[in-house]
Symmetry: C2
C-alpha cells in the first residue's frame, strides 16, 4: 500500500532518485530532431516523434540506475494531442522497464473534476460498462490550494489500485515565498499545507509507515526539509530542485528519515541535458545521462544509507 | 488588451455568462454515445468522438446566446490523447463561431515549465524555426500557489497575443476554506492571493481598466465577492459555482462593478445536462441547453445592467 512499491524499488537499486522527463524540443539532441523534421517538416508531429524517441532512449539508458521517472505533463501538452499520445507511450514503456512512474501534472480542482483527473492519471475511465485505463501512472503530483475536495478522489484510486500522490507543500522555485512563506498564526502557509497533507492521508499507511499522500518539498530549502521531515513523520517527500536549480546532496539528506527512507530526489535537466556538456552534439546522450544519474546517486549515497 | 475582447463580447450579447464544457461520458446523451460505441465498441475512441459531437452541438446551440465557453481540461484528459485531440477541435470550432474560449486548466508550475504551459495553451511551440500554435485558447485558468514564477510567463503571451488569464483566489467548492480561509496576519490566504494577483497584473490594464490577470472567485461566497470586488478594482472575476453548485443571481451581482462590468459567471452542469430534466432521453439536448443558458442570462440581467 501507499509508497511501499516505490520504497521497495529504491531499496533494490540503492538509489533514492527520480529522473525527470521534461524534454522541451530544444533539449532533444539535434540528430534525433532532424531525422523527423526531414520527414515531416517543422511540425508538432515531428517534434512529438523526436521527444518520444529521446524519452525512450533515456529510459533505456537509466532503467537499471534509477527506480523511477517523472514525466512532466507540460512538455507533452506543448505538443498538443500528439504530445499526449507520446506521453501515454512513455508511461507504458517506462512501466514495462520496471520503472515507477510519477506523472508530474500538479492538478487541483473541485471534487467532480478532481475525480475525472484521478481517473485519467491513476484510475480508469468508464465507457458504458467497460473500464478503460488512460495514462495509468503509478503516482501523480497535485496542488492542494482548493483543499481536500481536490485530493480525496485520488486517495480513492490510490487505495483501489495501490498507487500514491504528492501534494505541493514548499516548492523549489524562487517565488515560492510569495504565498507559501506567509505567516499564518503560529505557522507558515506551507506548514499549514503540510499539516493538511498529513491529515488527509491518515489511515493510508503502508509497511514503511508512510501514507499514500506525500508532499513536494524543494531541495533549495534545506532547513525547511529538516523542519518538515520532523513535523510530518508519515509523509513521503518528493524533492525537486537538485542540480540545475541549485540543491546539493548535503541539502537533500534532511529529507530522509533515520533509516534513509521516506524521500525521493528529482533531477531533470542535469540528467536529460547532460549531452550538452560533452561536445558530441548529442550522439552520446544516453551515456551522458546515465553518467549524470550515477553521479547524482553516488553523491546522495555519501549522505544517505538506505536500510 | 487584457480583458477587453471578452468584455466587448459580453456587451454585444448583453450576457455576462460562460458555458462550461465539462462533458463526462455520462453527460453525453445516450443516443450520441451509442452511435459511436456501436461502431467502435466501448472505447476511449468512441467516447472522444461522442464528447466532440456533443460539445460541437452545444456550441451550435449556444453561440448566439453566450459570449464564451469554458472547456474543462479534465474531461478531455480522461479520454487520453483522443480526448486532447477533441479538445483542440472544440477550441477551434468555438473560436470559428465567434466565441471567447477560456481553457480551464488550472496549471501552475516553476518558471520554465510555466512557460511551456503558456506556449501550449495561449502561445505557440517553436519547432526549429517554425512557431506552431497548439491549443491556442483566448484565456486560461491558473493556480498561483507557487507564486509569480507560475504566472509571469503567461503574462508575456497575454501581452504578445492579446489574451488573458484567471488565477484561483477563492474557489466555489466546500473545502476551499481549509487553506484559503486561514488567517494570515490581518488578511486571509485568499485575500493575500487576491492582492498578489492585482500586483502581478500591474501595468496590463485595457480600455475598461481591467488587467490581463483576473481572479476566480466562487459564486457560493457572496460576501467574499463583495469584499474582493471592492479590494481588487482592476481584477476581472471568473465566477464559478452558479446553478448546480448553489450560487444564485442575487449572489453573483456582487462580482460586477457599478457599470455591470468586470465579471463573467460560469455554469456547466445546469446547461450541459439540462436535457436530463426533460424526459426526452437527450434528443432535445440543444434546445434544453439553450433554454437553460437563456434562463441564466435573464436571471442575472435582473440584477446586472451592462453598460
Amino acid at each position: 500500500m501507499s509508497f511501499d512499491v516505490l520504497q521497495d524499488k529504491i531499496k533494490v537499486k540503492k538509489n533514492p532518485t527520480v529522473a525527470g522527463l521534461d524534454a522541451r524540443v530544444e533539449y532533444v539532441p539535434p540528430l534525433i530532431l532532424k531525422k523527423y523534421t526531414d520527414q515531416q517538416g517543422e511540425t508538432l508531429e515531428a517534434a512529438a516523434s523526436a521527444v518520444l524517441e529521446f524519452d525512450k532512449g533515456l529510459i533505456d539508458a537509466l532503467a537499471d540506475v534509477v527506480p523511477a521517472v517523472k514525466p512532466q505533463s507540460a512538455y507533452f501538452e506543448i505538443l498538443g494531442w500528439r504530445g499526449m499520445k507520446a506521453l501515454e507511450e512513455v508511461i507504458t514503456y517506462a512501466k514495462e522497464k520496471g520503472l515507477f512512474v510519477i506523472a508530474d501534472v500538479k492538478r487541483g480542482d473541485i471534487g467532480t473534476t478532481a475525480a475525472a483527473y484521478s481517473e485519467a492519471w491513476l484510475g480508469s475511465t468508464q465507457v458504458g460498462g467497460t473500464p478503460c485505463p488512460v495514462f495509468d501512472a503509478d503516482c501523480v503530483t497535485l496542488n492542494g490550494y482548493m483543499g481536500s475536495d481536490a485530493i480525496k478522489p485520488f486517495l480513492k484510486d490510490c487505495a483501489e489500485r495501490d498507487k500514491c500522490a504528492f501534494v505541493l507543500a514548499k516548492t523549489s522555485n524562487p517565488s515560492s515565498v510569495e504565498l507559501q512563506d506567509i505567516v499564518a498564526g503560529d505557522r507558515l502557509v506551507y506548514t499549514v499545507m503540510g499539516d493538511l497533507i498529513q491529515r488527509w492521508g491518515q489511515g493510508t499507511e503502508g509497511k514503511y509507515h508512510y501514507q499514500a499522500l506525500g508532499a513536494v518539498v524543494g531541495a533549495t530549502h534545506p532547513s525547511v526539509l529538516k523542519e518538515l521531515r520532523r513535523r510530518l513523520d508519515r509523509v513521503f517527500f518528493l524533492v525537486p530542485g537538485y542540480g540545475a536549480q541549485g540543491g546539493t546532496a548535503a541539502d537533500v539528506r534532511h529529507a530522509f528519515d533515520e533509516l534513509g527512507r521516506g524521500a525521493i530526489v528529482n533531477a531533470s535537466r542535469s540528467i536529460m541535458c547532460a549531452w550538452q556538456k560533452t561536445d558530441k552534439d548529442g550522439a552520446d546522450y544516453q551515456e551522458a545521462a546515465r553518467a549524470a544519474a550515477e553521479k547524482m546517486r553516488d553523491e546522495i549515497r555519501q549522505y544517505v544509507t538506505i536500510l
